[in-house]
């Protein structure tokens, strides 16, 4: 194995060894959302004409799980090994910043996608989703996971303490995911909030992903692809630069 492959393997093994917490728990949370929101709002919210609310909710919850877990993996791994001091074992090696990037993004994508798949499989019990354009589902799942995994690297490098990490997650990642149309269609919002939602890159990830299921979405999937792809390239450039210069990890 080359350096990045071993780091990738180690990072996958790290979350898999505690999969009850890193995979099982988020799947359960998403299913609880589905049961509670689905039950309460089933007769009150109408999104697209022909789609019932629970079916509408499933892709949103799957994507939310993918995004939050991809972020949690790289960010918590980095901040934990920084605080524990065990990051030194990687810092002493000849691995390049690209190797670090590939390994952390790759392993975090795996965790996000495994959790997303788990949520999807469990929700099959409650709803039979359509699969109108499966390729879009795959494209947005991969791209969304990659974007949040990369953001996780930036947050993990930046945070010096666990509470800083929690703040990043609770005040940025969670609100942006919740306000991106997981639980509702943007078209149901007043014009002002519709405009605000269009500034949220998370909206395009979930909207594009949902297009893959229903062949219907608030924005064109191509527009969503362009925005999410551009966001990932920008965030990747920043993450690579931080890793190259050893931001907060090499003094």
């Amino acid at each position: 194995m080359t350096g990045w492959q071993m780091l990738f393997y180690k990072e996958v093994l790290r979350f898999w060894k505690v999969s009850f917490q890193t995979v099982g728990a988020p799947v359960l949370t998403a299913v609880l959302y589905l049961l509670i929101f689905g039950h309460v709002l089933q007769d009150h919210v109408k999104v697209y004409d022909r789609i019932d609310y629970i079916s509408f909710l499933v892709p949103g919850l799957v994507m939310m799980s993918v995004l939050q877990n991809a972020f949690a993996n790289s960010s918590s791994s980095l901040v934990q090994s920084k605080i524990m001091g065990s990051l030194v074992f990687q810092l002493l090696t000849p691995m390049s910043h690209r190797a670090w990037f590939l390994a952390y993004v790759g392993s975090s994508m795996v965790r996000g996608l495994v959790v997303g798949l788990g949520v999807f499989l469990v929700t099959l019990v409650f709803a039979r989703p359509e699969l109108a354009a499966p390729l879009w589902i795959i494209v947005f799942a991969l791209l969304g996971a990659a974007l949040l995994a990369t953001l996780g690297i930036i947050a993990g490098l930046w945070a010096d303490k666990f509470d800083q990490m929690a703040a990043f997650q609770n005040f940025i990642i969670v609100p942006m995911t919740f306000l991106s149309g997981v639980f509702y269609s943007i078209s149901s919002l007043p014009p002002f909030w519709q405009a605000v939602s269009h500034l949220n890159p998370f909206f395009y990830m979930i909207d594009g992903f949902r297009y893959g299921f229903f062949g219907q979405s608030d924005a064109s999937p191509w527009l969503s692809l362009g925005i999410v792809g551009t966001a990932w390239l920008c965030v990747s450039a920043l993450a690579l630069q931080l890793l190259r210069t050893g931001y907060k990890i090499r003094s």
Partner: protein, 343 residues
């Protein structure tokens, strides 16, 4: 444990003419060239290292000594790529630790000072990961050999959290050697380690050194440095204040030390120059007259003493002399003391 080759290899790029000429003379294993490191702090810049220059030759057992905050760990961190020098450069067998970091790090096996570990994994996994990070494939035989040599064979499947401090220290040594580096760097490896493990560790490292490996050691245990290191550099406030062969440093402090125990207060004349540790008093003496004078002063003052002995000055005495001389030089020369030849 079977030895591994320690041949000097280049940096994978064509040497410049100047480098080619220089390569006719033996290349040092590690070369610190005017290395400075300044940290910005809320109270202004802090100079952790100021123009440190020294070469460590192939196969040497080199000691880096100094009080806390002298810059030893900063210097090792710059060598290992954990920190960047503000100016100057460091070469490992001719490879710049910044420009050729990949090659330089392959040549180094670094045992960090802190007892760090990854709580998710067991000993064997930790060693396999470390091999993989260095791109070493199929390394299980060597890992088994390391586990055996360091007395870790029965702990291979134990989680890192379950190990005692001494065992964790052994794993750190194994992790540093997993890619068979020619140069081994140990940053205070025996801090907080029991006597038995200290002996095991030194036996192991001394054997590696005999096989041709270069060893760079920082330690607070001066008797260890005296016993193991062929050459020693002493740092104080980020500067080299002494650099010589251990035997020369000891010869420079060729005096004796009068050692005794007492429960009484020392007369003022002696208190100023005595080193007191609990009941034990040590007085540096250049000759027999000094010793006679000390004893006479004690007798006149009616101080009751026990267990009198005279021993030769050791590295601890040299160290204290050098530090005191460096402090005096700093006072007289302001912020830029001159390095001392030796004690």
């Amino acid at each position: 444990m079977a030895p591994w080759p320690v041949a000097v290899q280049g940096c994978g790029r064509k040497p410049t003419r100047a480098e080619a000429v220089k390569s006719l003379s033996p290349m040092p294993a590690v070369s610190f060239q005017s290395v400075s490191k300044t940290y910005s702090t809320p109270r202004g810049p802090f100079h952790a290292l100021s123009g440190v220059s020294l070469d460590i030759e192939e196969g040497e057992f080199f000691g880096l000594l100094g009080p806390n905050g002298a810059g030893k760990t900063t210097l090792i961190s710059i060598l290992a790529g954990l920190a960047r020098a503000s100016s100057g450069r460091v070469l490992v067998q001719g490879c710049d630790v910044q420009a050729d970091f990949s090659q330089a790090r392959r040549k180094l096996g670094v045992v960090p000072q802190e007892l760090v570990f990854d709580p998710f994994f067991n000993v064997r996994e930790a060693l396999r990961f470390q091999s993989g990070y260095f791109g070493v494939k199929g390394n299980d035989d060597w890992i088994d050999e390391l586990l055996h040599s360091l007395g870790l064979a029965d702990k291979a499947q134990a989680n890192m959290r379950q190990l005692s401090g001494g065992m964790k220290r052994r794993v750190l040594v194994a992790q540093a050697l997993v890619h068979k580096p020619p140069i081994i760097v140990l940053d205070e490896p025996t801090a907080g380690v029991d006597v038995e493990l200290r002996q095991t560790l030194w036996h192991f490292i001394a054997k590696l050194n005999k096989q041709g490996h270069t060893v760079l050691l920082t330690t607070h245990y001066l008797e260890e440095a005296e016993a193991l290191c062929g050459r020693i550099a002493m740092l104080k406030n980020g500067r080299v204040v002494a650099l010589d062969r251990t035997s020369e440093l000891l010869r420079a402090a060729s005096g004796n030390v009068l050692v005794f125990k007492t429960d009484s207060a020392l007369p003022d004349a002696l208190a100023a120059q005595a080193r007191v540790t609990g009941r034990v008093v040590q007085l540096a003496a250049n000759d027999a007259q000094d010793i006679e004078r000390f004893l006479a002063t004690l007798r006149e003052a009616g101080v009751e003493v026990q267990d009198i002995e005279i021993r030769r000055a050791d590295l601890e005495d040299v160290f204290l002399n050098v530090m005191a001389a460096a402090a005096a030089a700093e006072e007289t020369a302001g912020a830029s003391p001159q390095p001392l030849e030796h004690a």
